[in-house]
Assembly symmetry: C2
């Protein structure tokens, strides 16, 4: 591990010195079907990567509920433009009440060996931001705390007023990042394919003066499945660029420099963690 890190470091330094000569090829990480969710909507398919390494209990409960068919036919009953698409079983129904409550997993303590691929210092909501295993996160060294951040397309569990009151209702931010919810909600995955179908969900909320939306028009999740339970010929297998690799670090350096002639005047060399899209490709 130590050797790998050193090699990576030397490589990154060389790349910084000889940027144009050093176009490391993107390294890919294949998403495991047992760690991926297929959501079938009336208008398209959405793939979600789960993050059991960061939010294990939420991922376990979500996966179990999916296998039990808990979400099949559930509605996206709270879809607010520039905020979230939230779905789950009918509020207060037997199905809803039968789900155990979850202890929050909004952040975790880091030890001295903890590391991530840093993107930015002095973010509005974090001392540092970066990526680990393909997930965007915040990190406060002063508190020894790290957490998954709310970007467009992250999936998090909804809750009541109490910290430990999440069960099965989930939301996906559909507009500008909801960073003020970081650390007090449990983010447990992110949409890696088909985000346009989440953005196209029927809005359930109107502005003053507009007629209310009939709840019968809310969009249903036709089916939610663990990708590993989907017949092999219907699986959607995605690869994401490896955020632990030197090629990614190098891409961040270039990204920040904005060397394309389009930037006739350079923006500040800063990166918003939620505006660093990761490359993805479809394997089958």
């Amino acid at each position: 591990m130590k050797l790998a890190t050193s090699v990576l470091h030397i490589f990154a330094v060389v790349c910084l010195l000889l940027i144009s000569a050093c176009n490391a090829e993107t390294q890919w990480r294949v998403l495991k079907p047992e760690n991926t969710v297929l959501m079938t909507l009336p208008h398209g398919k959405v793939v979600i990567e789960l993050a059991p390494q960061f939010s294990p209990k939420h991922v376990q409960q979500f996966s179990t509920l999916i296998k039990d068919g808990h979400y099949d036919g559930n509605k996206f009953y709270r879809v607010i433009d520039g905020f979230v698409a939230q779905g789950g079983p009918e509020d207060g129904s037997i199905k809803d009440k039968s789900v155990p409550l979850l202890a929050i997993e909004g952040e975790w303590k880091t030890d001295k060996n903890w590391s991530f691929t840093k993107v930015q210092d002095n973010d509005l909501f974090a001392e540092q931001t970066g990526f680990k295993n393909g997930f965007a996160m915040g990190y406060n060294p002063s508190e020894k705390a790290a957490w998954l951040v709310h970007c467009p397309g992250t999936i998090a569990m909804a809750r009541g007023n109490e910290a430990d009151s999440a069960s099965s209702h989930f939301y996906i931010p559909n507009g500008q990042a909801l960073r003020y919810l970081d650390r007090i909600m449990t983010v447990f995955g992110r949409v890696v394919f088909g985000m346009e179908h989440i953005q196209a969900l029927k809005r359930t909320s109107v502005i003053e003066g507009q007629p209310a939306v009939d709840s019968r028009d809310f969009t249903a999740m036709i089916r939610m499945e663990m990708m590993s339970d989907v017949p092999k010929n219907q699986q959607i297998i995605i690869e994401i660029e490896n955020t632990e690799d030197a090629a990614f670090t190098q891409r961040l350096v270039k990204h920040r420099k904005r060397e394309n002639p389009f930037f006739y005047k350079k923006p500040l060399p800063v990166l918003d963690i939620c505006q660093v899209p990761l490359k993805a490709r479809l394997i089958k």
Copy 2:
């Protein structure tokens, strides 16, 4: 004007002291039909407020082109998830080439009397952020410069590599704010109604491994009209909360404090300028 400012100031201070006793009613600003655009898409109607006070030449050209029917039937030919929806005439066509080029209006100089409703200090891309006349902006006192920022739903003119090369192609960010484009592009308005229809536009770009999208499937703007040219009984008249009023300042204070019991642990008292949605209502 001076009196109004003083009264506003006193009111704001009293509100800060007696926050709960001071629920100022939202003050509304009606959008003028001659300053508003109606975009008719196959799947819905979108209303855009223009900003002639900040980007006069772009607004003038855009309005003239709309009245000439320049955009009717144009395609959204570059719709990339988490980035932009861009539209305009066929590239290189006579229609395209006939449009005069515009000098950039990406920022402007402020004098000592310049002011806005401040939202946040030390934003990643600006010394200060805030609102003026309902538009989100950045402001660097050290440079005496201010500009309209790129939030989801702002409309800006596309350009080539040169600063003064915009003509009629425009884009609307559809995901996380593209703040690194601030000051080097001309933002000239924002979507105030129907943003969900922009988000639902057919994507034109695919990831590696996906079949390409047939350009015949790209979404067309059926019609673009100045609202003042729309028959009165078909006009969509919107009001937006007045960002110069004490009620708005007071709402910002509350917003930042997150006093709702849902926040069992308070987030940092900071606001992302692109995550401060302005209230809107439909008059007719």
